[in-house]
């Protein structure tokens, strides 16, 4: 993974000193709260319901063992012994004090981490496929591109006061695991007819109040033109994006209002004026970054790992975990293991400091010292030898992290909702917990198969509910929490926004409502058909009918 050189290190240290100074100027009144707020947000500090919250960048979801241990320490020393992984693969602490944040930032800088631009109206933490470098369907590893963009977008003099936040995601594979079409800019690495590698550039995706799927504005952008092209897109947006209404300020609205073709025309006109080579990183710099992501030294192993097969035959729980939580590695004899942060009854994405240390140790011993955070709020050990999987899973069992549900109905994405978030209109975590309990039975989960439930506690959609196969949005209806349910969303390369099934239901009715929807699928599916495939084939109608039919539970 990428390591800081002296320049990266100095910039992050200077940023810490700058924030310390900003806090001091806030306290002495030089900065008003209105002026300080965007400055603290650009450094990841929110004021939430009960306390400040600190959001730490985990660039494209990659962490080393040392970094995770440092997060564990911060959680213990400055927080309440746990942290929360978000759908943007960042880590959030829920209880830091503003006075302690500069010290926390120093601790982060010690392990080459920071909170730069994890919030605010600027370019946010870049995300990428969490199986980068290990997926068999990859054209090129997206992480060097993501790292180049991370650097280019950090403290960008021109683009730090945009109309609204701006999110970029990169995928290098055919199968999109980075939800790129739900981003302000989505980049897909591809190969053209001549065999050259470049990017498909998609603009104007985003969830929130007005969910939109990004549109392609350039079907092939040569790699060397990336930074100049991004500069052109951001300049057009910075100058012409709407600033009159916060809810219309994302680039998706501009793209929608003037049309993708006109937007592309303006970008191309700006791009044509720019001196591309004067903006681009030179090839040696690109190569320097890419070298950090070179394939590790894999051992030559047989595809069939005998120890692994024997353990599966002997231990049913392990066999189930292995069948659900492993991702096929491009190298024979290896696997990527998903550590579910969705234990039945847990808050999705939460992890204690003690668990962080165990996971860090596992990564160090069994996964080349590296781990990945996924947008589904889970952790991946990317390079585990199959014969080591049993030991790994047994350690995970001991700390309650061996839930076999990756991709299944209880692998629920949920934002913090009203239990923590000051913008929330309703709670999300209790809904996730109730659903997990309802569908806890392992056999039943396997029978239902792949099904993504995603929950947001307000229209901002941090829980990505629009692209959940089943989406749940918490709202307020006449002073009560009410949950709106959508169906048919899709977060992959066939991205789609879910449709609303009917009026909102109270929290207590959510599990029954989901149960009725799932029953339609189980009754009507053809052999091998997944939930989302069935929804596409059957259409909304049968599900809607089942959703609307009230449960007549005996009083």
């Amino acid at each position: 993974m990428y390591r800081y050189d002296e320049f990266d290190a100095r910039l992050v240290r200077e940023r810490v000193a700058q924030f310390r100074d900003q806090v001091a100027r806030r306290l002495d009144g030089s900065l008003s709260e209105d002026e300080f707020k965007p400055l603290r947000l650009k450094n990841g500090v929110y004021l939430q319901l009960h306390a400040y919250m600190l959001r730490i960048a985990v660039p494209y979801g990659t962490l080393s063992s040392r970094q995770l241990r440092q997060l564990a320490l911060i959680g213990e020393k400055y927080d309440r012994g746990y942290g929360h992984f978000t759908t943007r693969t960042n880590m959030q602490f829920n209880w830091p004090r503003l006075r302690d944040v500069p010290e926390i930032l120093d601790l982060l800088a010690d392990v080459e981490m920071h909170c730069i631009q994890t919030s605010g109206n600027c370019i946010r933490n870049v995300t990428a496929d969490h199986f980068a470098g290990i997926a068999a369907d990859e054209i090129e590893d997206p992480r060097p591109t993501a790292e180049l963009i991370r650097q280019w977008s950090s403290l960008h003099p021109e683009f730090d006061y945009l109309p609204r936040k701006f999110k970029i995601a990169v995928t290098g594979a055919e199968h999109d695991r980075a939800v790129v079409r739900a981003h302000d800019i989505g980049l897909r690495i591809l190969r053209n007819a001549k065999g050259e590698i470049g990017y498909e550039v998609m603009v104007g995706g985003g969830l929130g109040r007005t969910p939109m799927i990004a549109k392609t504005i350039r079907s092939f952008l040569p790699k060397a033109d990336l930074l100049a092209y991004l500069e052109a897109v951001l300049r057009v947006y910075n100058l012409e994006g709407r600033r009159d209404n916060k809810y219309k300020a994302r680039v998706k609205i501009m793209v929608h209002e003037i049309g993708a073709e006109e937007f592309a025309r303006r970008v191309e006109a700006e791009f044509a004026r720019l001196d591309g080579p004067a903006i681009a990183a030179d090839p040696e710099e690109v190569a320097r970054i890419a070298a950090y992501f070179a394939s590790p030294a894999y051992e030559t192993l047989p595809a069939r790992a005998s120890g692994f097969e024997a353990a599966k035959a002997e231990n049913r729980a392990f066999a189930t975990w292995a069948s659900v939580n492993l991702f096929t590695h491009k190298v024979p004899g290896y696997a990527a293991a998903v550590i579910s942060l969705k234990g039945i009854g847990d808050a999705p994405g939460d992890i204690t400091s003690a668990q962080m240390r165990v996971v860090a140790d596992l990564a160090e011993t069994y996964s080349l010292d590296e781990l990945r955070i996924t947008h589904a709020q889970n952790i991946v050990l990317p390079y585990v030898k199959k014969d080591d999987l049993f030991v790994v899973s047994q350690t995970l069992v001991e700390v309650g992290l061996a839930t076999a549900n990756a991709g299944l109905i209880t692998d629920i994405i949920a934002c913090p909702g009203l239990d923590y978030c000051s913008l929330a209109t309703a709670r999300s975590i209790p809904i996730a917990q109730a659903l997990a309990h309802r569908f806890a039975d392992e056999k039943r989960q396997l029978e239902i198969g792949e099904l993504n439930i995603k929950i947001s506690g307000c229209i901002n959609a941090c829980g990505h509910h629009h692209v959940g196969h089943i989406g749940i949005l918490g709202l307020e209806k006449s002073g009560q929490e009410s949950y709106q349910i959508t169906l048919g969303g899709d977060a992959t390369e066939t991205a789609a926004i879910g449709e609303i099934l009917g009026p909102g239901v109270p929290a207590d009715d959510v599990p029954d409502a989901i149960e009725r929807i799932v029953s339609v699928y189980l009754a009507q599916r053809t052999s091998g058909e997944t939930f989302i495939e069935a929804v596409r084939r059957l259409g909304l109608a049968p599900f809607k009918a089942a959703f609307l039919e009230k449960t007549h539970a005996p009083a």
Binding site: R10, P157, R235, L274
Partner: protein, 167 residues
């Protein structure tokens, strides 16, 4: 209003004259009177123009050789359009003075300079809360950044130079 540049406070020797009729050596005119002011400029006055951040850089292009200052309004510190306009004007070859006028905050000073601004024209209240020392300090708080084309130095070129030196 108080004026400052990278060295600290500065005397404002420009006279605001929206319609361009004032008899002064340096007059700052409104964009809609720029053409007339330039046309009637037989007296060797220096002309500057004050623009809203909705004026396109292209609209100023025909005049860039004839004006000495462009003052770009920042209606609020959170409205970053001025940064892009400054960048475009510099890219179009404007060599005169670029002024950012409005309630910016000290923490934006380095960005403004990097985008091509020379000076900041602050409202009185802002300047009173954020003394000039804070601005000079803030401008120097980050010694180098990643972007090429924003200011004299950048990390990418410094890495390049280090690579050459090693060869």
């Amino acid at each position: 209003m108080p004026l400052l540049d990278r060295n600290g406070s500065k005397l404002d020797d420009w006279t605001i004259s929206e319609d361009g009729t004032a008899d002064a050596p340096r007059i700052l005119v409104a964009f809609e009177h720029l053409k007339d002011a330039l046309a009637g400029n037989g007296r060797g006055r220096r002309i500057g123009v004050a623009i809203a951040n909705t004026v396109k850089a292209d609209a100023l292009a025909p005049f860039l050789n004839d004006i000495d200052l462009v003052s770009i309004a920042f209606p609020a510190y959170g409205d970053g359009r001025g940064f892009s306009i400054a960048k475009q004007l510099r890219h179009a070859g404007f060599k005169g003075t670029l002024r950012a006028a409005g309630p910016l905050i000290a923490d934006q000073f380095a960005y403004a300079l990097a985008c091509g601004f020379d000076e900041i024209d602050l409202p009185q209240a802002q300047a009173a809360r954020q003394p000039v020392e804070q601005w000079v300090h803030a401008a120097a708080s980050i010694s180098n950044t990643y972007q090429r084309g924003f200011g004299a130095e950048n990390i990418l070129d410094a890495r390049h130079a280090a690579r050459l030196a090693r060869k």
